[in-house]
């Protein structure tokens, strides 16, 4: 096995270091998630010129300010729709999409379920920090019940989505959940997702100590990272656990991995058939 690139090699190759420091708060997990994406892309040995990074709007969606991939910043929620156009127009490109939880499941929820259904070969990385961090910590579609946010000052009444279940039900052919605490596992989940032919959805749980943790008394950033040990359980381990023991735990690892016709490949076949018919 070839030796892995060092951290500084990765940073120098894939980041605009003159844009540092990042805007992420101290203790935020987003930098770890972005680094995991870059590590996964590097491991796959992909042509740097052919990797396109698409992002919506939110704390997650500034990762492309720092990475030097060719990138598109869409409007809030529209990243998957923009990415769909890029991938269909040029299926040779590897399209990686960074989303936030509100970006992906609230304002962009329609695009999410249809990208899953269409099984288009995109990799969606959702930095899920349970609230709208950039705008000051409002309640979102993944905020736990009773959590205090800047727009749920008396506690959240809206039941949250389990994004992986949503993606699975909508037809995604690769669904995984990773956490920034287990970064090696996260890298391999992303790697496997990019390699997967079809729509890959990776829910990445990442702490937001500044506006979510503080309001909900979740402790220091270190404690929030560490808490992911307790709040998650690997898919493999979960198989041996009782439903009671699994209550309140997030599944971690590959949740769905199956083969199905991929949209852009099917479209290329359609073009070939139509052109043959009209010859």
């Amino acid at each position: 096995m070839p030796k892995e690139a060092s951290l500084s090699q990765l940073v120098n190759k894939y980041f605009y270091t003159h844009q540092f420091p990042t805007m992420w708060c101290p203790g935020c997990g987003n930098g770890t998630a972005a680094m995991a994406m870059v590590r996964a892309i590097d491991r796959l040995g992909l042509d740097f010129d052919k990797v396109i990074h698409v992002a919506g709007i939110g704390c997650a969606c500034v990762a492309h300010w720092y990475t030097s991939f060719t990138a598109l910043q869409t409007a809030h929620g529209r990243a998957l729709a923009g990415a769909t156009g890029i991938k269909l127009a040029n299926p040779e490109l590897t399209v990686v999409v960074t989303l936030g939880d509100g970006d992906c499941a609230a304002i962009g929820g329609n695009h999410l379920i249809h990208a899953c259904r269409r099984n288009i070969d995109l990799t969606a990385l959702v930095y899920n920090n349970f609230n709208y961090g950039m705008t000051g910590g409002q309640v979102g579609p993944t905020t736990p019940l009773e959590a205090i946010t800047s727009t749920s000052p008396y506690g959240n009444l809206d039941p949250p989505f389990d994004l992986c279940k949503l993606a699975e039900a909508a037809g995604a052919t690769y669904v995984a959940r990773g956490v920034v605490y287990y970064v090696r596992e996260l890298i391999s989940l992303i790697e496997r997702g990019i390699k997967h032919k079809g729509f890959s959805f990776i829910d990445i749980l990442t702490p937001c100590p500044t506006v979510f943790g503080r309001r909900n008394k979740l402790g220091t950033p270190g404690q929030m990272f560490k808490a992911q040990q307790q709040s998650t359980v690997s898919v493999k381990k979960a198989q041996e656990m009782s439903p009671e023991a699994l209550k309140g735990k997030w599944l971690r690892g590959v949740i769905v991995e199956k083969e199905a016709p991929e949209f852009t490949e099917e479209y290329e076949k359609l073009i070939a058939q139509v052109q043959k018919r009209s010859d």
Binding site: Y16, Q19, F48, D49, K50, I52, V54, H64, W65, S68, F69, T70, A71, L72, Q73, T74, A75, R78, A81, G82, A83, T84, G85, I86, K87, L88, A89, N90, E92, L93, N110, H111, I113, H114, Y267, L270, I271, V274, Q275, S278
Partner: protein, 384 residues
């Protein structure tokens, strides 16, 4: 592909779709909405035949977003909509102006507000076309009056969008979109449209948002050694954020606006008739231009010195041409199927001239008859 010149009876929306194919559009993203549906229907059939791609997205917002993505990879792209769909396009229309993404958006106007009347014509989106998205920007809008122009102006829209890296709106209406007329189709290989300027410098010297002398930056295809960031936030020439740099943000907005406004000579197209000695000039566009022209010809028969001016490019406003008419005429009448929209830039263009500007609004979905416009010409003639 259309190999030799041909004359066909076509519907406006069909001519628009064929114009797009002839112009080299190879990607269409859409969402069903009346009365623009035929364009998407035909594109779904035609594009695979020429190796292009069609996708029906989950909503109006997603379809323009997908068209933007496809344009970034180097394809000529189009989307078509109407009424409520056009309102939903505003988000990505402003985005395409900001990121400078060439695309053609067809709007087959129907009666509003809101759901209004899906199968009846209106010209109520004229100001929304220019000002509907938030912030300051500029774009180009063309107004076809015939089925032939649905073909020709679709081609021109593609050409302008590529030359200026800007969204172009083909602002048609239900009359022009749905009526059938004779169309002369050229051999498609003779149809020439521009392609966006591309970078020729080495990748390390590429500044993705540095305009040329006209203000238009070279555009690299996604997936090439030219790494760049199609940035929808305020950005500098290298597309990095200008979160709180007012000077950079101002320079950007000025360039985005000036690349259209200062190149107006290259963009503007008007048709004038009987203007030399005209005392009353009717300024009309789209489906209303047809009865308006008829009214002017009838007025002439009655001995009224009437003239006709039709802006084919509505935005940017052909101020010079309107001003010229206002300097010599004593009255200008603007009939339009709305409560009075294009009359505002017309009034602004001729505020120093001697002509008095009259709005002739008509709403509800019934097109003008030439008699109604003639009546107004007579009133102005008698009253002045």
């Amino acid at each position: 592909m259309q190999a030799k010149k041909e004359v066909r009876l076509m519907q406006g929306n069909e001519a628009c779709a064929e114009g797009a194919i002839a112009a080299g559009v190879r990607f269409f993203a859409g969402y069903p909405i009346t009365p623009s549906n035929e364009i998407a229907n035909i594109m779904s059939q035609r594009l695979p035949q020429v190796g292009g791609k069609f996708i029906q997205m989950e909503d109006e917002i997603g379809s323009l977003a997908a068209a933007i993505g496809a344009s970034l990879t180097g394809l000529k792209v189009m989307d078509a909509t109407s009424g409520p769909g056009f309102s939903l396009k505003m988000e990505n229309l402003g985005l395409a102006c900001m990121a400078e993404v060439p695309l053609v958006l067809v709007n087959i106007q129907r009666v509003g507000p809101s759901i209004g009347m899906a199968t009846s014509p209106a010209q109520g989106d004229v100001l929304q076309t220019r000002y509907g998205s938030h912030g300051d920007y500029a774009l180009i809008a063309l107004s076809p009056s015939s089925v032939q122009e649905m073909f020709d102006l679709t081609i021109k829209s593609v050409d302008l969008s590529e030359r200026f890296r800007v969204p172009v709106i083909l602002l048609a209406d239900q009359v022009v979109g749905h009526m059938r007329e004779k169309v002369e189709l050229p051999p498609y290989e003779e149809v020439k449209t521009s392609y966006r300027p591309e970078p020729t410098m080495p990748p390390e010297e590429y500044h993705p948002y540095r305009g040329d002398e006209r203000g238009v930056p070279p555009m690299a295809k996604f997936g090439t050694p030219y790494h760049w960031y199609a940035n929808t936030s305020s950005h500098n020439e290298d597309s990095f954020q200008a979160t709180s740099d007012y000077a950079i943000s101002r320079k950007l907005i000025e360039r985005l606006t000036n690349k259209i406004e200062r190149n107006k000579r290259e963009i503007t197209e008007v048709r004038g008739e009987l203007l030399d000695d005209a005392e009353i000039v009717v300024v009309a566009y789209g489906c209303t231009a047809r009865p308006a022209r008829g009214a002017v010809l009838k007025a002439r028969e009655e001995g009224i010195k009437a003239g006709f001016l039709r802006p084919i490019v509505l935005w940017p406003v052909p101020e010079e041409e309107i001003r010229k008419a206002a300097d010599t005429a004593r009255a200008i009448i603007v009939p339009e199927m709305n409560m009075g929209q294009y009359v505002h830039p017309v009034r602004e263009a001729c505020y120093r001239g001697k002509a008095k500007v009259f709005s002739l609004p008509k709403v509800g979905g019934e097109p003008f008859s030439s008699g109604e416009i003639l009546q107004k010409i007579r009133e102005v003639e008698d009253g002045a």
